[in-house]
Symmetry: C2
Subunit: 353 residues, 2 copies
Amino acid sequence: MSMLKNDTLIRALLRQPTRYTPIWIMRQAGRYLPEYNQTRARAGSFLALCKNPDFSTEVTLQPLSRFALDAAILFSDILTIPDAMGLGLYFVEGEGPRFERPLREEWEIRNLFVPDPDQHLRYVLDAVAQIRRALSNQVPLIGFSGSPFTLACYMIEGRASADFRLVKTMLYQRPDLLHHVLDINCRAVTAYLNAQIDAGAQAVMIFDSWGGALSAAAYREFSLAYMQRIISALQREQGDTRIPSIVFTKGGGLWLEDIAAIGCDAIGLDWTVDIGTARKRVGNAVALQGNLDPAVLFASPQTIRTQAQQVLNAFGHGNGHVFNLGHGISQFTPPDNVAALVEAVHELSMALH
Amino acid sequence: MSMLKNDTLIRALLRQPTRYTPIWIMRQAGRYLPEYNQTRARAGSFLALCKNPDFSTEVTLQPLSRFALDAAILFSDILTIPDAMGLGLYFVEGEGPRFERPLREEWEIRNLFVPDPDQHLRYVLDAVAQIRRALSNQVPLIGFSGSPFTLACYMIEGRASADFRLVKTMLYQRPDLLHHVLDINCRAVTAYLNAQIDAGAQAVMIFDSWGGALSAAAYREFSLAYMQRIISALQREQGDTRIPSIVFTKGGGLWLEDIAAIGCDAIGLDWTVDIGTARKRVGNAVALQGNLDPAVLFASPQTIRTQAQQVLNAFGHGNGHVFNLGHGISQFTPPDNVAALVEAVHELSMALH
């Protein structure tokens, strides 16, 4: 950590004192940036961006040249693991990810294997190493993975789903089968995140995009339990440097106490949670990351400043807050509004530290 | 109430003793029933079903002939009010509701008016009266409306939206304009629900389908405050009969204490909330309605029974529970599974009363 020129993110995730509240933005390398769209056009597709470490490095760094962000996050997709399992990830323009071979039959589920990151996800590890070199220790690099349950949703539905009919039918009718998928995913995610840490990731985040679609009881059994297994098997240090972990269940605001108990260093909050209430609920167990409504970035710089101040004030004085949006940034966001947000958070948070 | 042969729903909503836990199902008259699809084919469209009181009565009664449900709910759409305001409701097959003339300009918002239910929504009131006659006091009839904020989402976006970009941009950038829309909607919903009560509705429910997309602070200011105004202006009695009110904010599980404080008789819960935890949080202030995951109905009758038992046990002994799904029933539900659910709830709940 001492190597990092700006270690504010790492310190905040570990609830250590910082001079100001660090900020990064989910999907900060994305379609709202013209330079991203240009690189993507050169690459030919979103998948080519992910799979070519040169492109991946280029777009990871783009938001850092524009804004004084306190972290970089690996540019990749949450579905690299099932792709490495042979399910055939592809993208339909404007419709999100799909799999050519979703899990439809029991024998397909029985044949699932844990991909070896060094073999099957080499391009991600190469990207991590290359981004780390390019960053020259300016700010930390965050690695990430989808959660076992979120991966299972896509693997079973074959695409994003409004009602999760197939995965939930399996959950209620054949829980043994779903647990088998989740066990494989859990081992795959653990190996994948540890390999990212070995390759240079300085913090890791688990994106549980769909855990919030479950009942409280099903969430604990089919999503949280597997994230707990991952957290407990993660490398917590690299050399003498601590590697903080962040767990983000979108729509998981009801279950913060349960999430805080699994041993992660920080919880990501979506924008429906009042971050002050959340802090009272979890006490000093974890840091909190979030949670401005991404839609605030459609408003004026003055409104953005006021709303950022409200999130900062709601968290209050002291350590353990990483500012972020409550969800990925919209492709329709004017980049200048991001500049206004980053500036506001850095400036306004000084008084709280 | 004394007129009702089965007043279990009304008694449960008012937290009075009942012999068993009553059950009805959101969207119980719907596409999962072959007889509904036949009537819809005869009517020609979904809107024709809503606008013709004969068809509306017919489909309202269909689930009651199949299942021992403890209530009927008016068959209608949540968007009748903006349609009566002249926005031009229409449906694209498989894509949900849209408006021909969404609110795009400030002058369009300034021109909005509160529709007179007797004039502009006569067909709904006729349907209520006709359904009441057809029900012969077997079970109570629930009337309903969309919430002011949910109506505003559709009126401003023109259709369902994944990110609510237009309505949220207005919320953050021109809150005065959005408040103007919400004030009109609030007065319209109040008049509409009171007219339904006059026409014979024996309980009323406000569907706040999109309030859960807001931040905690924005929810209170832009959705809950207007539902509170409605609740406080509703007729609470018709003759000497109490008319209970239910407020359902999908995704509102974080805010149950706030919802309970607005004076409604019951809160609808989606399936993400543990109903036992919810009961502890709201105490005896309100009844609770819900909250089985609709996806449970894709499983076997035995699993349905087990899961229904878990919801009943989570609520526990005593009064004030109305069993329901946590969201509208899916069109892919086998009707026999609904029969299994209704039977299980009636039978298993006896031990808790």
